[in-house]
């Protein structure tokens, strides 16, 4: 249907203040129906300042979660990139080329930064207020399910990294369970990346359109 040229004009009229119990219940002139005629329950029509405050806090915490989560992806990617330079090269029985201390330390520092940022990011999600009666639905479900992959991954990967670091400092080639440090890191990063994409999906690239 064609729109008329006229657009809505906000009058700037504020409604009742939040501490007033019955929101939007206004008397109607003459025979005009009122909100009370429609049969909504009081729970549906009553203002809930406490719930609004909870929603505001939730949004604030999840915005911080989103920002920190994106920031965390940067050192996480850098840690993955520097991983091969922090690894001893050469097969058993051959000459082992140890990584330089600088490469190793840089990788460890990036890993530490990633871990710190990751758990700070997780804090803002875990402790964001939960809204009663709301079941996760849509893309957020996959985002949350993937926590069960990258969460344990972010515990296991640094632990394996510490073991690998100790073995390399002892002049040994990384062996045993510590040799899975790289695999754990890749799986964790993949799950983390998928988690970011999950909440952004479906993506329509229209940045060239004027806002």
């Amino acid at each position: 249907m064609a729109q008329t040229g006229s657009t809505g004009q906000a009058t700037g009229t504020d409604q009742k203040q939040p501490n007033q119990p019955d929101q939007q219940e206004q008397t109607s002139p003459g025979n005009a129906p009122s909100l009370g005629d429609l049969g909504f329950t009081p729970q549906q029509t009553q203002a809930d300042a406490q719930m609004q405050a909870m929603l505001n806090k939730r949004t604030h915490m999840l915005k911080v979660h989103q920002t920190l989560g994106l920031i965390t992806a940067i050192p996480m990617a850098a840690t993955l990139i520097t991983g091969p330079q922090a690894k001893a090269k050469g097969k058993n029985g051959q000459t082992i080329t140890e990584p330089t201390a600088a490469n190793l330390d840089f990788h460890v520092a990036l890993g530490g930064l990633t871990t710190g940022l990751y758990f700070t990011t997780a804090y803002y999600s875990i402790f964001a207020p939960k809204i009663p009666g709301v079941k996760p639905k849509g893309a957020i479900r996959l985002h949350r399910d993937l926590e069960w992959v990258h969460g344990p991954g972010m515990i296991v990967t640094p632990l394996l990294g510490i073991m690998a670091y100790k073995q390399e400092n002892a002049g040994e080639k990384v062996h045993g369970i510590a040799s899975y440090h790289g695999t754990a890191a890749y799986v964790t990063a993949a799950a983390y990346g998928a988690s970011i994409i999950a909440v952004s999906w479906p993506i329509h690239w229209k940045f060239w359109e004027k806002q």
Binding site: G8, S34, F40, L62, V199, Q211
Partner: protein, 179 residues
């Protein structure tokens, strides 16, 4: 003599019929807001609206209301964020009032002046066209309310620091029946 009595009664009753209010009730509805972001196009749908219309002395007053939290975009996280951004716990209902001449209820297009209460603000939309189709004793009304975030002083939510478009048109599909 006996025949005159019913005729007299009928004549006496005519003014009463003339003053009788025509009342309408909203049978079913689909309200759909559209939100646009460079990375996302989102529709939020509500079927929870209730409405009533009263026509009296040549004028019709209609009231339609829906709980803000009844809109479903397919993502619970987004829906909660929408309720937060629109102050939907503080002002839980979106309420639309309109008044137009009763004669318009028979025309294929109704031009309605809308007063919309939402997010603690009241906005007026003048001359909004709605298509009207009669289906038996039901009437189907459809149109789009050209709402914007700024009309209701809503801080536009952003994703990756890019805010959504200011325009949040609301598509309205309603079926009314006389009470």
């Amino acid at each position: 003599m006996n025949k005159k009595i019913p005729i007299a009664l009928l004549l006496a009753a005519l003014p009463v019929f003339a003053q009788t209010d025509a009342q309408w009730v909203l049978e079913q509805s689909t309200l759909t807001y559209h939100m646009s972001h460079p990375m996302h196009e989102v529709n939020g749908v509500s079927h929870a609206a209730k409405g009533k219309g009263v026509c009296h002395a040549g004028q019709c007053d209609f009231l339609i209301a829906a709980p803000v939290n009844s809109f479903d975009s397919g993502d619970s996280n987004r829906d909660l964020h929408m309720v937060e951004a629109t102050r939907g716990a503080q002002f839980p209902m979106v309420i639309v009032r309109t008044r137009f001449p009763e004669a318009q209820t028979a025309s294929p297009i109704i031009y309605a002046d809308l007063e919309v209460q939402f997010a603690g603000q009241t906005a007026q939309y003048k001359h909004v066209p709605f298509q009207r189709v009669s289906l038996g004793n039901q009437v189907r009304i459809s149109g789009t309310v050209p709402a914007t975030c700024s009309d209701f002083k809503i801080d536009r939510p952003s994703f990756l620091t890019v805010p959504i478009k200011n325009e949040i048109p609301v598509r309205v599909e309603m079926t009314w029946r006389p009470m």
